[in-house]
């Protein structure tokens, strides 16, 4: 997975990350180092700070302490190498626009001020829709897409960013089993191309099948590493408390 001789800096290197909201820690002193070409799942109970971790890494929320480096540099200078899939519920899907237009937004960062997306951008967006199996819905108003289709539109939007590191916040929520499989296949393809993909995930059952690495989070980092090493009874108990008995008997 990692090439030890390469000196290329780590895709994500987080040290001592602390985020607090009204004097209550949401993330506390979290370290997270992710090697290149890893498919990493962030798991943990509700309110564990999974989304917060992603948002803090992207500089979307203020941090109380800690240092975040993307490919060895601060996020601000590495934006074009990072793709983001926000939670589907975070936007109003009744917005007057169609699927292709939403995907085109993935190129806005590269376009720069005042430039309108043109033929090149639309072609890239079409390609991305093709990859997620949504080409026939390009002109569809986004409220007329199913939850899984909306999720795939967001995924396509991140794909056109053509990034090296992807953050995805619950890309499997509201998605049926078939779509989940096609999405994970896509993520694995990205990983084979040497991209690093960090995903907030909920299902402990599929963790081992889908992901290489896993970070177990509950405000503090419980464990980080290959899925097998992380998913011990002890770690799960520390993250989920008594509820872990239901999750993995």
């Amino acid at each position: 997975m990692t090439n030890p001789s390469s000196s290329s800096p780590l895709p994500l290197d987080v040290t001592d990350l602390t985020v607090a909201y009204h004097e209550k820690p949401v993330l506390w002193d979290v370290d997270c180092v992710v090697p290149e070409g890893t498919l990493l799942a962030i798991v943990g109970p509700n309110g564990a700070g999974k989304s917060t971790f992603i948002k803090a890494s992207l500089g979307l929320i203020p941090t109380a302490a800690g240092r975040i480096k993307i490919f060895g540099k601060p996020y601000a200078s590495q934006r074009k190498r990072v793709g983001y899939v926000p939670q589907r519920e975070s936007v109003d899907w009744d917005f007057p626009t169609h699927a292709l237009d939403v995907v085109t937004m993935g190129r806005y960062g590269h376009l720069g001020w005042f430039m309108r997306p043109g033929k090149t951008e639309r072609e890239m967006a079409m390609d991305a829709l093709e990859k997620v199996g949504m080409a026939e819905f390009a002109q569809r108003q986004i409220s007329q897409l199913s939850g899984g289709q909306q999720q795939r539109v967001f995924l396509a939007r991140a794909l056109v960013q053509d990034a090296d590191l992807y953050f995805m916040d619950e890309p499997f929520s509201g998605v049926d089993a078939a779509t989940e499989r096609s999405i994970i296949q896509l993520l694995q393809e990205l990983r084979f191309k040497g991209k690093t993909v960090i995903v907030v995930h909920h299902d402990l059952q599929t963790l081992k099948e889908y992901f290489d690495w896993c970070m177990l989070l509950n405000v503090r980092r419980i464990a980080l590493g290959p899925v097998d090493e992380v998913l011990t009874k002890e770690n799960l108990h520390r993250a989920y408390g008594g509820r872990a008995a239901f999750l993995r008997s």
């Binding site: 926000p86 936007v91 109003d92 917005f95 806005y108 376009l111 001020w113 939007r157 049926d176």
Partner: protein
């Protein structure tokens, strides 16, 4: 007969600019679910107008507009500042800012009315709007602001759009969303203060929201929505101005708002896809399709009890399990060639009907497998 004299041309031109501006920026207020923002800004602008007049003692159009803008802007910026720094919710602070600023403005107006200067008359037109007192000078000021605002929207179109649709994502791309929001809200303040003289503080929020809400009904594209909204705003403003000039004592503001409300009602009721009438028709036709499919299915199950194709089933056995009248739907099915009737109240599936049922079954299984 409408006579296009100096006053009327002025009023029509001014109205068109107001309609254009509030139409375009109403789209953003609506899509950001901040329709009440217009109400707050227009009420907050009043003390600005009164203060400028108290200082200058003349009704200089540009100065009054700038005063209105400053106060409206202050009111707008206070709201997110308070929400971000406390646990007070947005709707609370909207109500507080609106009432406090407006109350202060009214107090200043009553102070002005007691001044010995004869020049104070006409400031109350900002309350209900009166376009007939508008001068060419006023129109020039409005035109300048309109030009600047429309240019800004064209320049920042994609930035405003993504910041409205998905602010977090826009931020992750490196767009300065906070500055974009501030610019956009400042432009909304401009749009509202420009309209105050003709429409008035009290009714201005309708001018901001109604054209956009009407436009949203007709299209699923933001570009077209903005264009339509501008057209609706202009149409309502111009016809409101014409109406009030031909009917004595009818102020422009209320006339304009009545017309835009009419646009809004028509759009809510009759627009294709989103309109209520359209939805009603679609629900009826869905209902019909579902009933037909169910009747075919029921016939198919009746068929299972006998030798295939040997037997007409009594229509009464279908009626027994259906609460509503099904004759109409059975007629349609027969016309489609999916069922055939016998003279004596019997009905059965044709081979085409059988095929239809099986296709439906296969489709359903396919969906389950997915």
């Amino acid at each position: 007969m409408i006579d296009f004299d100096y006053t009327l041309t002025t009023v029509v031109l001014g109205g068109a600019l107001v309609g254009l501006l509030s139409g375009v920026f109403g789209v953003y207020a609506l899509l950001r679910k901040q329709s009440l923002l217009g109400d707050t800004i227009s009420h907050a602008a009043l003390p600005g107008i009164a203060l400028v007049f108290l200082l200058l003692r003349v009704k200089h159009p540009l100065a009054l507009t700038l005063g209105a803008m400053a106060a409206g802007w202050l009111g707008t910026m206070i709201m997110p500042a308070v929400v971000n720094r406390s646990r007070i919710k947005l709707d609370t602070i909207i109500a507080v800012v609106l009432a406090v600023f407006f109350g202060f403005g009214l107090a200043l107006l009553s102070v002005i009315q007691k001044l010995p200067t004869a020049n104070q008359a006409g400031l109350t037109k900002f309350l209900y709007g009166n376009a007939s007192t508008m001068l060419r000078q006023d129109v020039h000021v409005m035109a300048a602001f309109t030009l600047i605002s429309v240019c800004a929207v064209l320049l920042f179109w994609k930035e405003f759009k993504i910041a409205t649709f998905d602010a977090d994502y826009a931020r992750s791309l490196g767009l300065p969303v906070r500055w974009l929001d501030m610019l956009l809200f400042s432009l909304i303040v401009v749009a509202i203060t420009v309209g105050l003289q003709t429409v008035g503080v009290v009714l201005m929020s309708a001018m901001l929201v109604a054209p956009a809400a009407a436009a949203r009904q007709w299209t699923n594209r933001m570009e077209i929505m903005a264009l339509l909204s501008a057209l609706f705003g202009m149409g309502a403003s111009i016809s409101g101005a014409l109406l009030s000039s031909s009917i004595t004592h009818l102020p422009t503001g209320p006339a304009t708002v009545c017309i835009i409300t009419l646009f809004f009602l028509i759009s809510i009721l009759f627009a294709p896809n989103r309109g209520l009438l359209w939805r009603w028709i679609r629900r009826r036709s869905h209902h019909g399709e579902i009933t037909q499919a169910r009747l075919l299915e029921e016939l198919y199950w009746l068929e299972q009890n006998h030798e295939p194709g040997s037997h007409y089933h009594e229509i009464r056995s279908l009626q027994a399990v259906n609460r509503e009248r099904i004759d109409r739907y059975l007629d349609t099915l027969t016309q489609q060639g999916w069922t055939e009737r016998s003279g004596a109240g019997g009905i059965r599936l044709t081979s085409a009907g059988l095929k239809q049922v099986k296709t439906a079954h296969a489709e359903m299984e396919g969906k389950e497998r997915l």
